[in-house]
């Protein structure tokens, strides 16, 4: 699935992985998170291999809501992250406000709309107080309004100093969010550059084709 990829993510503007379906975006993110073990090569975080995912958090394309209220989902994440119980209520309020879900804390998480669930998933990931946030096509199944709400939150997260690494197959979304862009195709890294450079003067034929809206096969 992934072939000879060497990547280093530095703290800073969001890195957006783009590429067609099956290019390896999700696999790369899942491998980075430790959800998939690489058959070769190694992954280090701060120079440490097999470091526990304490400062990493992951949001899936279709996040699974635990069978609790929205606030209960956040409380669970805070408890797992080792946040003292005395701080839970205050932190839950902050997180719900940050993702625009204030007032919905008592609602069962599974009864929220798709966009609200995705925002709750972002809040749940932030409950882990991550330095790196990995997002796998977080707006892929959302309508434009919900997409905008999620993108606004992602920008706010990135502005707060958290490193965002996200995948998308939507070039428009990459333009709106990316500080740098990584193009993957058939499991290989095709091109990596700052967003302005990549979008303005791509160097590889694949990147030019992708930007031109042609199908990469």
């Amino acid at each position: 699935m992934l072939d000879g990829i060497t990547l280093q993510f530095d703290i800073g503007a969001p890195t957006v992985l783009i590429g067609p379906n099956g290019s390896g975006k999700t696999t790369l993110l899942r491998t980075a998170m430790g959800l998939v073990a690489p058959t070769q090569g190694r992954i280090t975080w701060g120079g440490v291999e097999k470091s526990p995912p304490i400062h990493r958090a992951f949001v899936f394309q279709r996040p699974t809501m635990l069978r609790r209220a929205a606030a209960g989902n956040l409380r669970y994440a805070l408890r797992v992250a080792g946040v003292p119980a005395a701080q839970h209520n205050g932190r839950i309020g902050e997180l719900l406000a940050m993702v625009g879900l204030d007032g919905l804390g008592k609602r069962p998480a599974r009864r929220l709309s798709g966009g609200e669930q995705q925002r709750l998933a972002l809040a749940r990931a932030l409950a882990r107080d991550p330095t790196v946030l990995l997002l796998d096509e977080p707006t892929a199944s959302l309508d434009p309004a919900a997409t905008k709400a999620v993108e606004d939150i992602i920008r706010a997260i990135a502005a707060s100093g958290i490193k965002v690494v996200m995948s998308t197959h939507d070039l428009g979304e990459a333009r709106r969010i990316a500080g740098e862009i990584v193009l993957l195709h058939r499991g290989r890294l095709i091109e990596r550059a700052g967003a302005t450079e990549f979008l303005g003067s791509p160097k590889t034929a694949e990147a030019k084709s992708f930007l031109a809206g042609e199908l990469l096969v």
Partner: protein, 230 residues
Amino acid sequence: MHQDASALQLILSGDPALFAIVRLSLIISLSAVAISTFIGIPFGAFIALNRFRGREGVIVLLNALMGLPPVVVGLAVYLMLSRSGPLGALGILFTPTAMIIAQTILVTPIIAALARQTIEDLWAEYRDELTAMNVGPFARVVTLIWDGRFSLVVTLLAGFGRAAAEVGAIIIVGGNINGFTRTMTTAIALETSKGDLPLAMGLGTVLIGIVIIVNALAWLARRAGEKIAG
């Protein structure tokens, strides 16, 4: 119980013997379900979350044990608890304790097998999220049992249904002693053999009524819980 009274008369008059039978039946069945829950759910969770050699065989065996013949279990427990048996010194044959043991053996595979399936299905759904959150093995089990609690209620009801309806095992190890080990099912068997079919039918109606009430209460609790937790 008055032999010539109908079941309805016995119920309406608050017949103490009848209510003692009902009470003992509930104590035995609910005790067996409670013990089986503490054994079966953790065991089911262990199989659901772990991959080990022979796992498929254990699952097939567990599923097969759901159909354990009660009379065979009764006979096995009888042999264990009889004076010459390995546990004969305990002196608990023909007591409610022996009946609880027999029913626990019958109910545990049902709860373990159904819990295994419920927890395994939920684990398939939760695996990525819990792994990404770095949830430890013990916390995973607790989370899955808690989040699967509404489905697990049905599992417990299946176990209770088996226990409440069971007669073959408890009549062997309990002896159907009047006022001591007589339950609704053993009383029904006795009254039927004596030819008092109206009383047997009446007792059967009471038994079905209790099972329906227990299931209705569990259903209401499940509905209320789902409304809150989703």
